[in-house]
């Protein structure tokens, strides 16, 4: 081989791992990434649509939080997404890839709807709501436990199993709609108890979605404490990191898998209750509406930290609502906003690389 040809072929840049970085510097990098992404977005918007990017940004902002009503809808939807993401946190901490939140939300929603339809006008509101709450959690738990039992005893693949259960849940909803059709022949359930509002989540202290806010934020706190400080949360982390270590110290791995998935499914079922009782007041196969999958993104972006999830879910819903606004205002396709969201997420995720590594360019190195 020609050895001289290799001379001076030093790589253009090389990457080395940072050993530590201050919190301020890390957040500085993240902030710079967001600002940079907005600049790039502006360029893309202008190149593709010839619109003033500032106007587009304004429209997004207005669409998401422009009026008090819009702001509350954004908050409501963000809370729902957040609730599902919180539900995923314990399972993901255990490295149990629960892709079945969609189904767990649906079964939680369908039993909530059932209670509303059959007992909506027969029971006092507090009792009714309590029953709805409990059955929705139980339904989600069962839906979460099924794949957990199979994983614990026969080591089935949880990703496929939970994914498939989503379709089973959808079929159950389709089946129920046959009985609950209103008006007949519409193939939809329609708004349940629209006259009596039986089983509708009441306002809390004047806030229409006050209960949602209270329940979901309490859950964010509760799950955070559970995972970080409790013995059970510790077991979840050990099982997730290494099953053989867990067995070595005498942790009952099967029990932990099932318990954790019951919690995960239960919280997702509760999200179904919030959707049906407090938001849509109806049930359909699209009640979960893909949020079970979006929540996976939320959970990962937040690195399973339930407080960081609050920020992430608000950001995603904010952009979603803004998308609808720019679609109607500028006659753009709704996907235009997906492009913007995509660019911003790309920059945020990319910034993590620069937080973990530093890049040294050629030429910085002294000649030996």
């Amino acid at each position: 081989m020609n050895k001289d040809a290799m001379k001076g072929r030093e790589p253009l840049a090389h990457i080395s791992k940072r050993d530590e970085i201050t919190i301020w510097k890390a957040w500085g990098i993240r902030l710079a990434a967001i600002l940079l992404s907005l600049v790039v977005c502006a360029g893309v918007i202008f190149a593709l649509t010839r619109l003033n990017p500032i106007e587009v940004y304004k429209a997004i902002f207005g669409g998401a939080v422009g009026t008090s009503r819009r702001a509350w809808v954004t908050i409501r939807d963000a809370l729902t997404l957040l609730c599902i993401a919180i539900g995923l946190a314990p399972a993901f901490r255990m490295r149990f890839w629960n892709t079945g939140a969609e189904g767990q939300v649906l079964v939680g929603g369908v039993v909530t709807a059932a209670v509303m339809i059959y007992f909506g006008d027969a029971l006092p509101t507090p009792v009714l709501l309590l029953i709805m709450l409990v059955v929705s959690i139980l339904a989600g738990m069962i839906w979460g436990l099924i794949p957990a039992v199979f994983k614990a005893y026969w080591n089935t693949n949880e990703t496929l199993f939970t994914l498939m259960l989503n379709y089973v849940a959808m079929q159950i909803v389709t089946f129920c709609i046959v009985f609950w059709e209103n008006p007949a022949g519409s193939n939809t359930v329609g708004v349940i108890n629209s006259a009596t509002k039986g089983g509708w989540m009441p306002a809390l202290g004047g806030l229409t979605y006050g209960w949602n806010l209270l329940i979901v934020l309490a859950l964010a706190y509760g799950v955070y404490v559970y995972l970080r400080l409790s013995k059970q949360g510790y077991e979840v982390a050990v099982v997730g990191e290494s099953e053989s270590t867990a067995k070595y110290v005498g942790i009952n791995v099967k029990k932990v898998i099932m318990r954790t998935m019951a919690i995960s499914g239960g919280i997702c079922g509760l999200a179904g209750f919030l959707i049906v009782s407090a938001c849509s007041h109806t049930i359909s196969t699209s009640t979960a509406g893909g949020r079970g999958f979006t929540a996976i993104i939320v959970a990962w972006l937040a690195k399973f930290n339930t407080f960081a999830m609050i920020l992430v879910s608000f950001f995603l819903v904010f952009m979603q609502k803004g998308a609808m606004q720019i679609a109607s205002q500028f006659n753009l396709n709704e996907n235009a906003s997906d492009v913007i969201t995509g660019i911003i997420l790309f920059f945020i995720l990319g910034s993590e690389f620069f937080i973990r590594y530093k890049v040294e360019l050629r030429g910085r190195r002294k000649e030996a």
Binding site: R18, A237, Y248, G250
Partner: protein, 512 residues
């Protein structure tokens, strides 16, 4: 220095990882047709240095010369083209392919593969250097030593004239080591340059022509092997004189602590891993367990710890207070809840004994997190324990909140052993306690084991370095293919006798 005499020359090589300087202006030269040993403690930068030769890392400063010409090695491919071949500690082979297929894997060639020609060329190499290898054997049917042979033939087939071996003898029996050394000597005679990284001083003295010593990333010097002794090399490596004798106190009032009779186990595929194992472990004694890797050592310790499903046989525990408990068919959790203080340092430290991504505090919690009432986990006691261990065993870590994965091998082991002995065990089982540890850390661990022995603990120690087992243990149990081929007195037996027992040849001589 005269040019042209050296196959590889490293000049003032510096490599930093963040603030850590892994290599600080290291100079090193290998002559043509010589075996150079590189000695150094853990974290002294041996592997980093070799990784720069094999193209995995790129040096921050300094020059590399091959055959007197300055070169840039930016990728493993560059390294290859220069004729440098590295044999890593972990083999990089495809299990379902044959030796020959692995050897030519990734090489450019014509559309139609001429396997007979390839095999012929491999056979020619095998004959030239005296390997023992069947090119058509599948990798999964091979022993560790055979796999290593495939790796060596692979780099030779590709035309390497300089070989780097990273701790090649760690996984070999004494007999296999001898064979390897014979081959390396043949290669030296054929003009190849060989760099060998090892911890074992006796091997350095036996095999190499010169020894280069690194300490904490710095180059200390190169000496002619014939002028060196184990003591002088250790001094260069550690920076101070230390005694290389392992202390062996006499057992005090040994009494029966563990009795294992007719123990048999199977793995998931139903293949027996232990066959009718019967022995007794006494308090105040260190029982060594020797054998080729995978002879049932892991299964034996795990069976006692309640982590293996036992097909037949019994494990009885005799507490110091008197009485008897049957441990077979009990799980690890059951054994703990009985209050039996059985400690276990498994072979796979970060995969089983500890959780790598967790910090020391959370790793201390693994034992005993469930003690005490309440929903919340107590992190104060484990934090105190972690701080105690850091201080007592001189664990090098920024603080107790650093993930244990980022500690060096020796420190990881100190954390694990520290935790296991903190519960005042009556039985202590350790598997390969000094694997990958440098001399200083190794002697710390031997001292800890002796301390436990003096306290009246029954110590079971699975080891791979027979010299150490012979000096440290009271008795040595030899396993071969899951069965005991002999239990010998460590004070009177020889390395050769154990080596024979390990390969089943000594079956007839078995038992005490």
């Amino acid at each position: 220095m005269e040019q042209g005499n050296y196959a590889i020359e490293l000049k003032n090589i510096t490599k930093r990882f963040g603030k850590v300087v892994a290599n600080d202006k290291v100079c090193l030269a290998v002559k043509k047709g010589e075996i150079l040993s590189i000695l150094g403690e853990n974290g002294s930068g041996k592997t980093t240095l070799m990784n720069m030769l094999s193209g995995i890392y790129f040096p921050d400063e300094g020059q590399i010369l091959v055959d007197g010409n300055e070169v840039t090695i930016a990728s493993p491919k560059d390294s290859f083209e220069l004729g440098i071949g590295m044999i890593h500690q972990h083999f990089k082979l495809v299990d379902v392919l044959t030796a020959a297929e692995n050897i030519i894997l990734g090489l450019p060639g014509k559309e139609i593969l001429d396997m007979p020609a390839v095999t012929a060329k491999i056979r020619e190499l095998i004959d030239r250097y005296g390997f023992e290898l069947n090119p058509n054997q599948k990798i999964y049917e091979m022993s560790v030593s055979q796999k290593q042979t495939v790796e060596i033939v692979k780099v030779l087939y590709r035309g390497a004239s300089m070989l780097i071996l990273d701790e090649p003898t760690a996984v070999l029996t004494p007999q296999e080591t001898e064979k390897l050394f014979a081959i390396l000597r043949n290669m030296r005679a054929a003009g190849h340059s060989i760099i060998i990284i090892t911890h074992k001083l006796n091997e350095v003295l036996e095999l190499s022509d010169r020894v280069a010593v690194l300490r904490k990333g710095q180059y200390i010097g190169t000496v002619e092997t014939k002028d060196a002794t184990a003591e002088s090399l250790t001094e260069m490596m550690v920076g101070k004189k230390i005694s290389l004798d392992i202390h062996r106190p006499e057992p005090v009032k040994p009494e029966k602590r563990l009795e294992i009779s007719g123990l048999s186990c199977e793995n998931i595929e139903g293949i027996p891993t232990l066959k009718g194992v019967t022995f007794t472990a006494n308090s105040g004694e260190i029982l060594g367990i020797a054998g080729i890797a995978g002879s049932g050592q892991k299964e034996l310790l795990e069976a006692v710890a309640g982590l293996q499903i036992i097909t037949s046989g019994t494990i009885s525990y005799y507490p110091p207070e008197g009485g008897q408990e049957i441990l077979s068919e009990k799980t690890a959790a059951d054994i703990r809840s009985l209050g039996i203080r059985l400690s276990f340092v498994p072979e796979d430290r970060l995969g089983m004994g500890l959780v790598g991504s967790m910090d020391m505090v959370d790793n201390m919690m693994l034992r005993g997190y469930n003690e005490g009432k309440g929903f919340f986990a107590d992190r104060k006691t484990p934090r105190k324990l972690a701080e105690e261990i850091v201080e007592k065993l001189e664990v090098a870590t920024p603080d107790v909140s650093t993930p244990v994965r980022s500690l060096s091998g020796g420190n990881v082991q100190k954390v694990l052993v520290g935790r296991e002995i903190s519960s005042n065990p009556t039985v202590l089982m350790v598997a390969y306690p000094v694997r990958g540890l440098d001399i200083n850390s190794s002697y710390t661990i031997y001292e800890l084991l002796n301390e436990q022995k003096k306290k009246g603990v029954a110590v079971l120690c699975v080891g791979e370095d027979l010299d150490v087992l012979l000096e440290l243990c009271d008795k040595i149990l030899v396993l071969c293919g899951g069965a005991i081929t002999g239990i010998v007195d460590a004070r009177t037996t020889t390395k050769e006798e154990i080596g024979l027992l390990m390969t089943r040849n000594g079956k007839e001589q078995g038992n005490e």
